[in-house]
Symmetry: C2
Subunit: 169 residues, 2 copies
């Protein structure tokens, strides 16, 4: 709240006037931070023509933007902090996760439809793997204070996409 007052130059009453509750204010703040993280992660993704290249660009963006998104990933923070506390905030974070997974699945489906993949590739599993390993590596990077885990996970995901998901050339 103190951060918010400093950032906006408003008094507490001035901030609360715009929101029906503290819970809703936190949820709006989450949406704002998630949008910033999302923009950084989606940079240049739509310029790639192949679905699998889009996945790789997104993975690279996630690794590179680690230090750009202040305070780490809003989803990771919220999943932990809002678990028992704020149901409005929790719902916003859960919705952001669903949107992210849907977008990743769409990239894999695009690759499947263009004949770029091996038979049997499951878009839901690919999406879950990418989100889980990136978010977990981000958590590790915060504890280790370096990018080692993120780099290793990026290497694994790229290799997996090239050798297990992409159709052999």
């Amino acid at each position: 709240m103190a951060d918010l007052m400093a950032a906006t130059g408003l008094q507490k009453g001035g901030i609360y006037r715009h929101f029906s509750s503290k819970e809703e204010l936190a949820a709006e703040a989450f949406d704002y931070m998630w949008q910033a993280a999302w923009d950084a992660r989606m940079l240049h993704v739509d310029e790639r023509t192949s679905g699998l290249d889009k996945l790789k660009q997104l993975i690279a963006n996630f690794v590179e933007s680690r230090t750009l998104v202040a305070g780490g990933c809003p989803m990771l923070n919220t999943a932990i902090d809002a678990d028992d506390g704020n149901p409005v905030l929790r719902a916003h974070a859960a919705k952001a996760l669903r949107c992210w997974l849907t977008r990743l699945q769409a990239m894999v489906k695009e690759a499947v439809e263009r004949g770029e993949t091996r038979p049997g590739v499951d878009p839901k599993t690919v999406g879950a793997l990418i989100v889980a390993s990136l978010e977990g590596a981000l958590m590790m990077s915060r504890l280790e204070r370096n990018s080692d885990a993120l780099r290793r996970v990026q290497e694994h995901l790229n290799h997996h996409i090239e050798t297990q998901i992409a159709a052999p050339r």
Copy 2:
């Protein structure tokens, strides 16, 4: 603090008498919860004779014990909450992460030395991948309130161990 007073039956003063600071109390509580999580995750692991079977048992334990460890993974919670706040707690969580990675790397090395693996397997990358994807999937499972992400990650890790790490039979 209220939880701790209820659990121990002690007053606040009685609890603080045993610890030099609030920070140290939180760190000791972390160690206690981490030990409980660790015991659940290591169940039957040492009964497996192959290093790769140990990895698979640990992964299965992590997925199965999701609902057993109250409040989720202590490391995940602490990595987020203690990032800027409590340096003592943060150091304990970072040490727990190092121990976990070292243990996983030892299992992979054991497999390499017994000739169970393909050439070029990197114990550090395998360890980072397993921790990152399991912890990230746990975060997703908390937001989604189901085990879907954990099951998909388990499936991926087992398939990866069988087809990319294990030597062809």
